[in-house]
Amino acid sequence: MTKVTNLRLVFLLVLPFMLSACSDTDDVSKAVSSTMEQEQSNSKPVNQEIIQTTSKDVHLQDLIHHVAQAKRHAEMHGFVWSTTNALVDKGYAEAEKGNEKIAKSAFQEAKLQFELSMEQAKYAAQHWQLLVPEEY
């Protein structure tokens, strides 16, 4: 998977939230989407770690370990989403109650979010200048 597809993934995941939350005005979401496309067409594929989607039969303890690791990394990058830690808490709470399936899905979602936020951090570090107005 290339950088570009990763970003598309981030964007697709993000899009429904953008539409449902703060910015349900067409103007902004369109603007965001067009900026993204512009940025994508300007950006060159870079070698990146690929997001590993967790396989279904993963052990809960392993998953918890991965999540904890992802959390540490994500916090280092400083791009953690406000939605993620609640998912981690939910995972622990459900695991405690013995609801392994719900716990796993919460942890997996959390892990994905941590990973996406790290992708976002890497993308920003390389491309943040794209949002700076050009000099005249």
Partner: protein, 278 residues
């Protein structure tokens, strides 16, 4: 073309460390002003101090009526009382600041070369407290916001005069704030600049997005949503939460550097804080 150059530069550098040697705050400000002059050709530079009320006539009328009897007056009065009350050691806030703390807000944040960090007014207020054996105040609201509001009110009309000295560490802090401002973050994948540069003046639900230029002049601000005055970093945390990004701690290095860049952007505009917002 420009973009390609930037891109190459960015890629040539370490991924997480920006390139301070390329920062040119003076040019940045010219660029930002030219950008906004294109977006709002009718708007005089000084009008940006009114934020969204400079560009939304309907909202402006309501705001002017609110300002007839501004809701932040109590905060200023309370702040003056707190500011004038001596510490247990007999000293007071005045002893910590140039000109006894009166009419100095326009010089903040500044880069302290000894401490090697950006010092905001709120940070300086708390450092003054701890230097005098007092407990630090919570940043963001309450007494801190009152004192800061009072100090801002004594600077009314003074032109923002934030300096970025020609020194690698100061430039790096400025550049770091700039990178924060232009970096997309949060689940909504938005940067400060997404709303307050690229989409300034457009509507987002019922709200008109304010231009980033001029933001710094009217904080602390009384927000009806807060039901009280709050500092600019409290607003940063709120904005970050709204794009579903986990906010940083108030007065963290990230927010101080952001405030440094963000305030520098408004250099030359008069302080009119505290202001009232919806």
């Amino acid at each position: 073309m420009k973009r390609k150059i930037y891109l190459t530069l960015a890629m040539a550098c370490n991924m997480t460390v920006a390139a301070p040697i390329f920062a040119n705050p003076v040019t940045d400000n010219e660029t930002v002003r030219t950008f906004f002059a294109d977006v709002f050709p009718e708007l005089a530079l000084d009008s940006y101090v009114d934020g969204v009320y400079a560009i939304d006539e309907n909202a402006r009328e309501q705001w002017l009526q609110i300002e007839e009897f501004p809701p932040y007056e109590d905060a200023i009065d309370e702040g003056k009382i707190l500011f004038d009350t001596p510490f247990l050691n007999g000293k007071s806030y005045a002893s910590c600041f140039d000109n006894e703390g009166i009419s100095i807000k326009q010089n903040y944040p500044y880069f302290d070369q000894e401490k090697n960090k950006v010092v905001t007014l709120e940070l300086a207020i708390n450092e003054c407290r701890t230097d005098n054996g007092e407990q630090p105040l919570n940043y963001g609201k309450g007494p801190m916001a009152y004192i800061s509001s009072y100090m801002a009110s004594t600077s009314s009309g003074e032109l923002i005069n934030v300096k970025v000295p020609d020194n690698a560490a100061a430039l790096a802090a400025y550049e770091d704030g700039k990178e924060f401002f232009y970096s997309r973050r949060g689940q909504l994948n938005m940067a400060c600049a997404t709303c307050h540069m690229a989409n300034a003046g457009k509507r987002l639900r019922a709200d008109t997005l304010s231009p980033a230029l001029g933001h710094a002049t009217h904080f602390p601000a009384y927000r009806f949503k807060w039901d009280d005055v709050g500092t600019i970093q409290r607003r940063y945390a709120g904005c970050n939460a709204q794009i579903r990004s986990k906010p940083f701690k108030l007065q963290s290095e990230q927010y101080r550097n952001l405030e440094y860049f963000h305030t520098y952007m408004s250099n030359g505009l008069p302080i009119n804080g505290p202001g009232s917002r919806k």
